[in-house]
Symmetry: C2
Subunit: 440 residues, 2 copies
């Protein structure tokens, strides 16, 4: 046993050392992979029921008619569809977007709409315009993981405000703003998802909306309203957009990813006039222009297809899945768990008993062939270890029920261990009770 091992070579120049490390910008340190990513290869195997992703269920799309529409578009209008456009976006589409927004009581001028590469780009551009390093963004706790990623990329600090089953708590917002003021922090905007929240699955009560807006006005804080799910209420219900109630102090983000097709990456920003002009400049430096083809595809679809009927069909599919997940949770989850009851959108937010750490449990869940998004990814501050997001949007109702059965079994055995040995994860930090994060 005295074989000589080769001495370890420090700085051997292998690829696991990054020679570019000293060159990165300070912001790059904040770019970290989402927790689910590491497990992605395993979690995407067909035998695993994934309740982790947020992929819309596109099975109901009329592919045949889309196929011939697309063919006609290229044959007739190909030289436009395949050519550069403006950073502002295709004018006809911007007009149609105003009609879409009218469903949520927004009255807007097409000039104030900027088309973006998904609403993620809108979010990134708004953050680019407003946030210097150290500036504060107020966000619900939990909040959309992609938003946290953008805020981190611009070195903004996120301060979370709690929600209850009526959405963002106005008193919590007031306190957070007062605290920031006390500590001399500069708050740039409130980032909020009022409808069918990702990941929390709750909706901001209509009675609270004016109050939230009023608080932001008082504190001279802009509101960024992110509304990808607003038209996906399971009873066809919609709510007045924050933008409709305070056009001058709200930047609104919209998307066709959930109401039509995510792979086209067509979203938009509706902004007060002066902000919109700057937004176009920012967008131009980011991508020159959004893809013309995709904008014309969406425009044609809105013009020729019963898009409202299609959204209704999507909603029915999601309602069926929501029903499946809620009844399965009711039936299988061990005592001590609680969850939200979404009436639209894609997500249920689950809180597990004290002592269980959803992040630590995730590899065991994936081994048991079920995946979810653990709660900490939806907080910028380490909370959420007792929470998880379950997405019911994509799998069939049957698979959803099977997934919840598996998840409940994993949770049971986790709790068994706890009862025997005390906390399985002694260093676990528990998050606030209700509700908490979502991830992609």
């Amino acid at each position: 046993m005295s074989e000589k091992r080769p001495a370890r070579q420090p700085h051997s120049g292998h690829h696991n050392l990054d020679p570019h490390l000293p060159r990165y910008a300070a912001r790059t340190a904040g770019m970290t992979a989402s927790e689910i990513r590491a497990l992605f290869a395993v979690a995407s195997r067909p035998e695993v029921v994934s309740l982790a992703g947020g992929m819309p269920n596109l099975a109901a799309l009329p592919l045949e008619s889309l196929s011939s529409q697309m063919a006609e578009l290229i044959a007739k209008d190909g030289l436009t569809a395949l050519q550069y456009g403006s950073a502002h976006g295709v004018p006809a589409l911007r007009e149609q977007i105003c009609e879409v927004m009218a469903l949520e009581e927004i009255s807007a001028h097409p000039d104030d709409v900027v088309v973006t590469v998904g609403s993620q780009m809108g979010l990134d551009m708004v953050t680019r315009l407003f946030c210097d390093p150290g500036d504060v963004v107020i966000a619900e706790g939990p909040s959309y993981v992609g938003a946290l990623g953008s805020f981190a990329a611009y070195q903004a600090e996120v301060v979370h405000v709690a929600m209850d089953d009526q959405g963002l708590v106005p008193e919590g917002l007031r306190e957070a703003l007062a605290q920031c003021r006390t500590h001399g922090k500069r708050v740039k905007f409130l980032y909020t998802i009022p409808n069918f929240h990702n990941p929390a699955g709750v909706t901001l009560a209509v009675e609270r909306r004016a109050e939230i807006l009023e608080i932001c006005r008082e504190h001279d804080v802009l509101v960024v309203e992110d509304n990808p799910y607003g038209l996906l209420g399971f009873d066809g219900q919609t709510y007045p957009a924050l933008r409709s109630m305070d056009p001058d102090n709200v930047v609104y983000l919209g998307s066709f990813s959930k109401t039509f097709a995510s792979g086209l990456r067509v979203g938009w920003v509706l902004a007060p006039h002066a902000v919109r002009e700057k937004l176009v400049l920012a967008a131009e430096s980011a991508t020159l222009c959004p893809p013309t083809l995709n904008q014309l595809v969406v425009s044609r679809y809105l013009a020729t297809h019963d898009w409202k009927g299609q959204i209704k069909t999507f909603g029915e599919n999601y309602r069926e899945r929501r029903d499946a997940i809620l009844s399965a949770l009711e039936q299988h989850m061990p005592p001590g768990c609680s969850w939200t009851h979404p009436d639209g959108g894609f997500y249920v937010w689950v809180t597990v008993p004290e002592g269980v750490d959803t992040k630590a449990m995730l590899p065991r869940a994936v081994t048991a062939r079920v995946a979810y998004a653990s709660g900490t990814g939806f907080y910028a501050d380490g909370f959420g270890s007792r929470q998880m997001r379950l997405s019911y949007c994509y799998p069939t109702p049957e698979r959803i029920r099977e997934g919840v059965r598996r998840l409940a079994a994993v949770l049971e055995s986790e709790m068994d261990l706890m009862r025997t040995f005390g906390s399985v994860n002694p260093r676990a930090v528990s998050g606030p009770e209700n509700p908490s994060p979502d991830t992609a």
Copy 2:
């Protein structure tokens, strides 16, 4: 005449005042509209010959076959094409991109390719990864206007290095780096367009390439190689990419905008492994993922179409237009003007006699029904007032000749005025003789 006018209301809350002004990030001050933008409405009238834009000429695209390909893609593979993908990009396309790059002697692994929304997004992401405010980017003078926009958005300082007809001058690069070191400035990368430069129309001599790379290594400076035009040499000639000569210290940007279709917005970054991982994270926070549809369209096109033959056809069209513009310049331009002689790409860079200010002359040119991009837009430091970029890519050869005739007449009358009254633009700053900027 003693009527009382209403007193002017300061802060009247009208839309020309921006109530959000105190809220913007510091970087937003650097976002300004390009000079051509203000004239765009007029310059895009059909009677104006625009030598200003950089729109590729797509007339030779096989629209019918693209139309049926697109139809088949949606019919057969629509649920994938219309769904989210990864921020890294579609694997099959990344493999094909490696084949495209092999034409310029690049040997790369598909894992190290990241698909972006046009190479503009690649540029923006690379700047995001590397540049803190105040960091220096070295760029050719003139340089691509969209790159200057991205650098400004990240508050990077641009230091220009002169070119001659063999491209970037190594001695100039050495001096600029030494100067930056002397002044304690942190140089993050050299941004260079080695082939058929936008706007200068010159190509970096092959003999200089190793030297440029060596200088950057010596000074521990990364190289960002932007190569949208490399396959558009008019004699089918290609040059070894900088990336092929120093894989570990070059980040390479590629694009299908000029070799296939700009309106799809499909570009890519090839980066050293460690950088690529960070790039994917940055891209995810910027747009979640590039449009799946567009990636599959490009992938199918590369797999089923004679794309090399198509590039050859494009090149022939551009050569015909290059010939038209060079002979028209020769024939019509007044003495004292000089210009570059591109053997690929889209642009001629023209220097006019001392005393003429191309920016001040532009409105007069547009009135005379010809548009160009004035030189100052291609410099971060105010140079370029004696230069202009002429794009020959889009108009017909006949229109190009007519445009140059009009331009020459405007220039003649400008010089007549000068001879009569002295400089028309007494405060004009002249840029370096040769060559200078380009704009969109």
